[in-house]
């Protein structure tokens, strides 16, 4: 008994010396007590609304540091619009932090660059953590067979209606199906109210319609888009939007007119009857349109049901991190009930399925979003997903202008996406 203890003590002393030496010779991230500091970049303070950043910095990080003596977390807030560029240049310069709260669309891109740790290999308890989360948002972390992150927070788009416009259309409830949606366009004809508005034709905008209409953009293995994007279901779905647009019942923002009245202004202003948007709109309107009482309902259902698109952020660990164990400890903390529920009142939806009810109890307005999330799906998890948006925004516009058929436009987009998937 005695000898092994001594060997252990000796080796731990050596290890401690080695650690201290390493700490001193390295960039000073570890202080002489053996404490480590992990750096964490995110955009919790985005838009000047500091509620989320306050909770993180004054409640959550101190709680983590108290529970894990010896680990300090240094959070750096980066405006969302600058974060991708900062991460790209930092990756090129090998200056990434330990942890990043990354938009879920960026994970495959950075995984493909080789700057992220595959968490499904590095964390023994990855499966237990992963199975608690919503499948749609978890899937955004998958790249070439490994998961490179865990969901941190999520959101989705639901149908938001202006109650006065519903009244004008003689509807007692928001349109629940494609048929009711189209029928409402007829009732609004001549009232000066536009049925639907959106800010583009990217995947974030279009996929709720495509999935709800029973279609998809590629096959499940992400090998081809032809035969999927230009399917009969998608032709019918897009034709509905094109018809609405040509009848003046869909805003020109849909086809990229930056001069169109924005959705956040036009819905409370009464120009638009419905939009698809996320839970953050409540906060935006509370300041500017305090009298506006938006009606939230699921995305209108087509042949595929009511399926929306997943948004949100994942937490990822960088391969250059010198404190991966400590960083993984913080990742575990982000998946705890404590962490997840603390951010709900600030407008962050939890990624843990079983916390759904507690979330709705904390904020009843989130009920529709929570339900929609159960079936919501993720956009293509590929490194060059931004090019898919460019393709959709470019190739589909001629169909709306009536210069080519919907079938042809979808075919053109599918051909371009095929090239992208093959590269």
């Amino acid at each position: 008994m005695k000898r092994p203890t001594r060997i252990l003590a000796a080796s731990s002393a050596v290890a401690a010396f080695a650690l201290i030496a390493a700490g001193c010779s390295a960039d000073g991230a570890a202080d002489p007590d053996g404490d480590v500091t992990i750096t964490f970049w995110g955009s919790y303070g985005n838009g000047g609304n500091s509620a989320q950043q306050d909770v993180l910095e004054s409640t959550l990080i101190p709680a983590f540091e108290k529970a894990n003596p010896g680990i300090q977390v240094e959070y750096l807030d980066v405006p969302y619009d600058d974060l991708l560029q900062k991460l790209t240049t930092s990756a090129a310069g090998d200056e990434l932090p330990d942890l990043v709260r990354a938009d879920l669309g960026w994970v495959p891109r950075f995984a493909d660059l080789g700057v992220l740790v595959p968490l499904s290999q590095a964390m023994d308890d990855f499966d237990q953590l992963a199975e608690r989360t919503f499948p749609g948002v978890l899937s955004t972390n998958l790249w070439e067979g490994d998961y490179y992150g865990l969901p941190l927070d999520t959101n989705t788009r639901v149908l938001i209606s202006n109650p006065d416009a519903l009244g004008t259309a003689g509807a007692s409830a928001p349109p629940a199906t494609f048929e009711e949606f189209e029928a409402m366009a007829d009732s609004l004809d001549g009232t000066g109210i536009t049925l639907f508005a959106d800010g583009g034709l990217g995947a974030w905008n279009l996929m709720p319609w495509i999935w709800s209409g029973g279609g998809d953009i590629t096959d499940a293995d992400l090998t081809t888009s032809s035969g999927y994007l230009d399917s009969a279901e998608n032709v019918a779905t897009l034709q509905m939007l094109v018809d609405l647009y040509q009848a003046g019942q869909a805003s020109s923002g849909l086809v990229g007119n930056e001069g169109a009245v924005s959705t956040s202004e036009g819905l409370p202003g009464g120009q638009y009857a419905t939009i698809l948007d996320g839970p953050w709109m409540t906060g935006i309107w509370a300041d500017q349109f305090p009298d506006f009482a938006p009606v939230y309902s699921p995305v209108p259902a087509g042949d595929g049901g009511s399926i929306s698109v997943v948004g949100g952020e994942d937490i990822v660990l960088t391969a250059s991190s010198k404190h991966q164990e400590a960083a993984m400890e913080f990742i575990r903390f982000t998946q705890s009930d404590e962490f997840q529920l603390a951010l709900v009142p600030t407008g962050q939806l939890t990624v843990i399925q079983e916390l759904g009810e507690q979330q709705v109890a904390l904020d009843p307005k989130l009920e529709v979003f929570t339900e929609q999330l159960a079936t919501a799906r993720a956009r293509l998890a590929i490194p060059n997903a931004s090019e898919v948006d460019t393709i959709l925004n470019t190739e589909l516009v001629p169909a709306f202008e009536g210069t080519i058929s919907v079938k042809e436009a979808l075919g053109n987009a599918a051909t371009k996406i095929d090239e992208l998937l093959a590269s």
Binding site: T88, A91, E258, G259, A260, S386, T390, E395, V397
Partner: protein, 316 residues
């Protein structure tokens, strides 16, 4: 001119008493080079090195991570640009911007400079007002113009009120009206700058020549053609060359007013390049477009210098 003459004079005065100027002339002196060194290092690190790096990147399928190997493509990126429809569309839009913004900036800038050249108690105030757009942030005025040209913006309202149009033009929803709106911003923001250069040049028009022309019976227009224009030729050359370079560098206004939309139809070279590099991580192809842009600007500048120099030879 005045400053450099003064400086040379002062230097001459300081050196004059020293007994050995002739010996120094023969010996190599490190002093001037040492004075040049800091500026040259700064220039080399911040300008020359990035240019060389961009040229290098343009020959590869450039991977941004240091450890990853970039595939050497030779001139493939350049060939790709020449066959890329969107590159040519962006190029066309840049040329449209150049043609639509430079003549108004030169003509209006000169007209205003001539008007402000006359003595008037409010001249300083007017100069400040005309120069104000130049020093205002591009971001602020781009957003302002986006609202002005919005579907329900002031431009549409005004045109509708006057009855020129029905007031329902979607300016930013079409390639040419969008480019027109972007060009309007370019002209509005740029006039003050060319006016300032012309105003400075007008101070140098020899008064004696003007008086001589008047005595010879020349009217205002003849005096302008025969005396003023030749006297400010070098300023005109400078303004033209700088505006051409500026037009090829148009970015912020396009990025913020239309974002290149709809369907990428108002993209200019720099917005397309930015999207390729930072949106799609195609740094190699983006760098190739940057190099092409540099070459085009270089050639155009040399041609302009030539044109203006030749004319100088004809009319001394």
């Amino acid at each position: 001119m005045t400053i450099s003459t003064l400086a040379t004079g002062a230097a001459a005065d300081a050196v004059a008493p020293a007994p050995r100027p002739r010996i120094r002339r023969r010996r190599f002196s490190a002093t001037p080079w040492l004075f040049l060194l800091p500026g040259f290092i700064l220039f080399a690190v911040t300008v020359v090195y990035p240019i060389i790096q961009a040229v290098q990147m343009s020959l590869y399928d450039w991977r941004i991570i240091g450890s990853a190997t970039s595939e050497f493509l030779g001139l493939d990126n350049y060939a790709r640009a020449l066959g890329d429809e969107h590159f040519w569309l962006s190029f066309g839009n840049t040329v449209f911007y150049l043609v639509a913004t430079i003549p108004p900036q030169i003509v209006l800038g000169l007209v205003i400079a001539l008007l402000l050249h006359a003595r008037s108690p409010i001249r300083p105030l007017l100069r400040v007002l005309y120069y104000l757009p130049v020093v205002t942030s591009w971001v602020v005025v781009s957003l302002l113009f986006r609202f002005l040209f919005a579907d329900q913006g002031l431009i549409n309202w005004s045109l509708g009120a006057v009855g020129v149009t029905a007031g329902d033009t979607s300016w930013l929803a079409d390639r040419w009206t969008g480019m027109l709106a972007i060009s309007a911003l370019g002209v509005w923001k740029g006039i003050g700058w060319s006016m300032m250069i012309f105003l400075a040049a007008l101070q140098g028009v020899p008064q004696s020549l003007m008086e001589a022309a008047t005595v010879d019976g020349a009217g205002p227009w003849q005096r302008f053609r025969a005396v003023t224009l030749p006297a400010i030729r070098s300023a005109t050359a400078f303004v033209t060359i700088m505006l051409v370079i500026g037009a090829f560098n148009v970015f912020i206004s396009v990025y913020l007013m239309t974002g290149g939309g709809p369907a990428g139809r108002t993209d200019v070279l720099l917005t397309y390049m930015y999207q390729l590099a930072f949106g799609d991580l195609e740094f190699g192809y983006g760098a190739a477009i940057a190099v092409i842009l540099t070459l085009v600007v270089l050639v155009l500048s040399l041609v302009q210098l030539r044109v203006f120099r030749d004319r100088d030879g004809v009319t001394p």
